[in-house]
């Protein structure tokens, strides 16, 4: 009975797997094996994270194949044959084996801990004098990126004395919730320079996440965060809020445009030159009126 059931289960499994595969192949529009590994890192810190990811992945895969292999071997090799009613040897345990399979995992996880801690020190390293500082304001449900000149804190951009000195990029929600004609707000950063983000939330917890930087940091109200990164690949990268922040959480997307220093400075100059450039749209109506950053519109 056990045997026929097994055969039956195997047959059903094969049929279902083939069916699933057929559905998958016929519907495949945007999947590629590229999705099976993290994005190519676009920052120095992201590359460090990617390296530790790869190490963990290799060890994890090895453990997976070892243990699944043992399970599969055991259930095939030690299945009860029909008519076999003899008791197998009643083995209660083996202390040497217990010590081995306690000690080896301890060694593995300690090694992973040390490696990941070292990587963490790279990822979280800070320089006291980053060449670029950007204020990032998160609110329900959009972003603002505030570029203040040297010597001015982004929070002070709204003050009359700083009028015309700051550049603020405002995000807007897509009209009618339709993403097709919508561009999320874009944060411009120069390549190969350390950029410091000063993260601030005006309402609930948000999270600043750029998959290509392999990094995210929560933005908790009253707990402003400072992060630094060095983008090392020119391009436009997707970013999104990952901390659920209410009704339109899904629309808290943004982009990071990594460009050459020349292009970056040119963009900043263009934004500073009156009349305001088209990207400086008025703040989203859902933005909290009177928030420090919202009042810094040029």
């Amino acid at each position: 009975m056990g045997l026929t059931a097994k055969r039956w289960a195997r047959r059903a499994g094969v049929v279902a797997a083939l069916g699933a595969l057929a559905v998958l192949l016929s519907a495949c529009s945007d999947f590629s094996l590229r999705n099976a590994v993290p994005p190519d890192a676009a920052s120095v810190q992201g590359q460090a994270s990617r390296n530790i990811y790869d190490i963990v992945f290799v060890i994890g895969a090895a453990v997976f194949f070892l243990v699944e292999g043992l399970i599969l071997f055991a259930v095939v090799r030690y299945r009860r044959r029909a008519g076999d009613d003899e008791l197998p040897p009643q083995i209660h345990g083996n202390n040497r084996l217990e010590i081995i399979w306690t000690a080896i995992p301890i060694a593995i996880v300690l090694a992973l801990f040390v490696l990941s801690w070292q990587t963490l020190n790279t990822v979280d390293a800070r320089t006291p004098t980053p060449p670029v500082r950007i204020g990032v304001v998160a609110y329900q449900w959009q972003w603002e990126f505030v570029y203040a000149p040297e010597g001015v804190a982004w929070q002070d951009c709204g003050a009359p004395v700083n009028k015309g000195k700051c550049v603020t990029v405002f995000g807007t929600l897509p009209a009618g919730g339709d993403r097709s004609n919508w561009t999320p707000p874009t944060m411009h950063v120069p390549v190969n320079e350390t950029v410091e983000l000063q993260l601030h939330s005006t309402d609930v917890i948000h999270s600043f996440y750029v998959p290509a930087f392999l990094f995210q940091r929560d933005i908790t109200p009253r707990k402003d965060q400072v992060i630094q990164f060095t983008a090392d690949r020119i391009g436009i990268y997707r970013g999104q809020c990952t901390q659920f922040c209410g009704l339109y959480h899904q629309f808290m997307e943004f982009q990071v445009k990594v460009e050459s220093k020349v292009d970056y400075v040119a963009w900043l100059q263009q934004e500073l030159t009156p009349p305001p450039a088209p990207s400086a749209a008025p703040p989203s109506p859902s933005g909290p009126a009177g928030s420090p950053a919202a009042s810094s519109a040029p």
Binding site: V75, R79, T119, P221, K223, R238
Partner: protein, 545 residues
């Protein structure tokens, strides 16, 4: 061999009144089981709503407001009203039987623990007709959960309901601990207790230490929302959003062990029985369980690595270390299979399914212990994949194994094995189709809890695949429900000991009489029923303990 001379069923079912007022741990256990099963279907419908909406980019079926309620209530129902009570139900039914006791220590408190559950579930679900259920995610982070951002009654109902669930859990934990420490039969020393009883004991300690923290935090959140408190409300002086995360996870991380340890206990009963061997390394297993319980309270802040408010090395190290006792258990299970004579009943299939799927949930958990990797995949679909390999691949597979294994004891009739195998195959395939693609969605950057996504993000195929998997799971539940229906109407009679079990519940009739045992076999090892069955065998077979 067993005490079938008793009249087993004559006074067993005496109508609705008896079921509503019973203090019999077995009936309460069955009530837990059916209540959890019904809410499993409710939570499953919420999950299907989420998967249906995500099948394609664009909002086709619901608004963001509805979607946010769906994923919030899916997680809340599955955690608080399905997995935890399902396992508590097994504990209720089995612990007194397994230790040779006539009932739980406090039968009326036991009934109260149960009846708080359907009551609280109704309260939480009442949000839907009253203008919207809770929609902040089951983590209910503040300040999003504050009155300013979450208007409407749903959140308050959710808080009240969870406070009742917390009370139920605390009462249940006290009951289990007193029962286990004070009511074991003569000869049932601690190290002769079935592993399931050990896991229930450690779970109860976790509940007793963790649940009051969450319950207090919920009351504080209620005060914030309704009475102007400022515990977690950052709009007021002194309000601290991180404080909520700390107290919430101080319970809710151990809650993961509350949801997995008893399932490990179930699997540790099923695998030895159907391998016809004792559990390999019984004591190592007990120490590993205790180790998980102890370490379980030192890892909560790994849910908060990305807050910038956590001492990272400590929590990273502890999170890596907690993988070790879990690994020890995995090797002990596999060693139990080795040189056994394995019978592939449905219960055993689910138990082996538990091993192969929970393994993945353990390995992808190790990714998250590495802080830089967590920075990358935290709050993405990778987390959703991880928790479902633990709670579905682990807890739910264990629960199904337990249902097929102990159903004959509960009702005197076996669930149909053919339907059971269809159920298993469908669940196993559907589970992997649903949750494996979520790893890939996560590492390519799809955040969790979004109602919709850009069509150009590269997530269309994987989401469609996950949705197909979700409906496969739903379809696989149909033969299971049909199986319950036909078995309750007249399935194959089971007899007292249909599987050649090891532990005391197989020494009484199926179903057992109200007082459980007419007489007990001598208890000289952790397998008294095995010892009795093989008392006259050659000594070489049973020696060794």
């Amino acid at each position: 061999m067993a005490t079938t001379a008793l009249r087993p069923a004559a006074t067993y079912r005496t109508g609705l009144y008896e079921w509503l007022t019973t203090t019999d741990h077995k009936k309460i256990g069955i009530l837990y089981t059916f209540n959890s099963l019904i809410l499993f279907l409710v939570g499953g419908i919420f999950a299907l709503a989420v998967r249906t909406e995500l099948a394609q980019p664009g909002l086709q079926f619901m608004t963001e407001a509805t979607y946010n309620q769906m994923f919030t209530m899916h997680a809340s129902v599955m955690i608080f009203w399905v997995v935890i009570p399902f396992l508590a139900g097994f504990g209720n039914y089995l612990v007194p039987l397994m230790i040779g006791a006539p009932d739980m220590a406090f039968p009326r408190i036991n009934a109260l623990s149960f009846w708080l559950l359907p009551l609280s579930a109704v309260i939480a679900l009442m949000g839907f007709p009253l203008g919207g259920a809770a929609a902040e995610g089951w983590t209910s982070y503040s300040p999003l959960a504050q009155a300013k951002f979450s208007t409407g009654p749903g959140t308050d109902l959710w808080i009240v309901a969870l406070t009742l669930v917390g009370t139920s859990s605390i009462l249940g934990a006290i009951n289990f601990l007193v029962t286990i420490f004070k009511m074991r039969a003569p000869g049932m020393t601690l190290f002769r207790m079935p592993v399931f009883v050990w896991t229930t004991m450690v779970t109860s300690v976790l509940v007793l230490m963790g649940t009051p923290v969450l319950t207090s935090a919920l009351i504080m959140l209620y005060i914030d929302r309704n009475l102007g408190g400022s515990f977690f409300n950052t709009a007021l002086a002194g309000g601290n959003a991180i404080l909520w995360e700390n107290v919430f996870w101080f319970y809710s991380h151990p809650a993961v062990y509350i949801m997995i340890l008893p399932a490990m206990g179930i699997v540790s009963e099923v695998i030895p029985t159907f391998s016809r061997k004792p559990l390999f390394g019984y004591k190592a297993f007990v120490f590993a369980t205790a180790g998980i319980g102890a370490l379980g309270f030192s890892v909560w802040a790994h849910h908060m690595f990305t807050t910038g408010s956590v001492y990272l090395p400590f929590f990273s190290l502890m999170t890596f270390l907690i993988a070790v006792p879990t690994g020890v258990k995995m090797f002990n299970w596999v060693a139990t299979l080795f040189r056994g004579k394995i019978r592939f009943t449905t219960a055993m299939l689910f138990a082996v399914g538990f091993l192969s799927l929970f393994l993945i949930g353990g390995i992808n958990g190790a990714f998250l212990a590495a802080v830089p990797v967590d920075y990358q995949v935290h709050a993405t679909y990778f987390i959703v994949a991880h928790i479902h390999y633990v709670l579905f691949g682990g807890s739910i597979m264990g629960i199904f194994a337990g249902l097929y294994y102990w159903w004959p004891k509960m009702f005197g009739r076996k669930l149909n094995e053919g339907l059971g195998k269809i159920h298993f195959v469908g669940i196993f395939i559907g589970m992997n189709l649903t949750f494996f693609p979520m790893h890939l969605l996560g590492i390519s950057g799809m955040p969790r809890r979004i109602a919709d996504y850009s069509a150009t993000a590269g997530w269309n195929d994987l989401n469609l695949l996950a949705t197909i998997g979700g409906f496969t799971i739903a379809a696989a539940m149909l033969p299971f429900l049909w199986n319950i229906f036909v078995t309750l109407r007249g399935g194959e009679p089971a007899g007292d000991d249909p599987w050649e079990g090891n532990t005391l519940e197989w020494a009484t009739s199926s179903p057992p009489p109200p007082y459980n045992f007419d007489h007990l076999p001598p208890i000289r090892s952790e397998r008294p029923v095995f010892d009795q069955r093989h008392a006259n065998d050659a000594p070489a077979l049973t020696a060794g303990h």
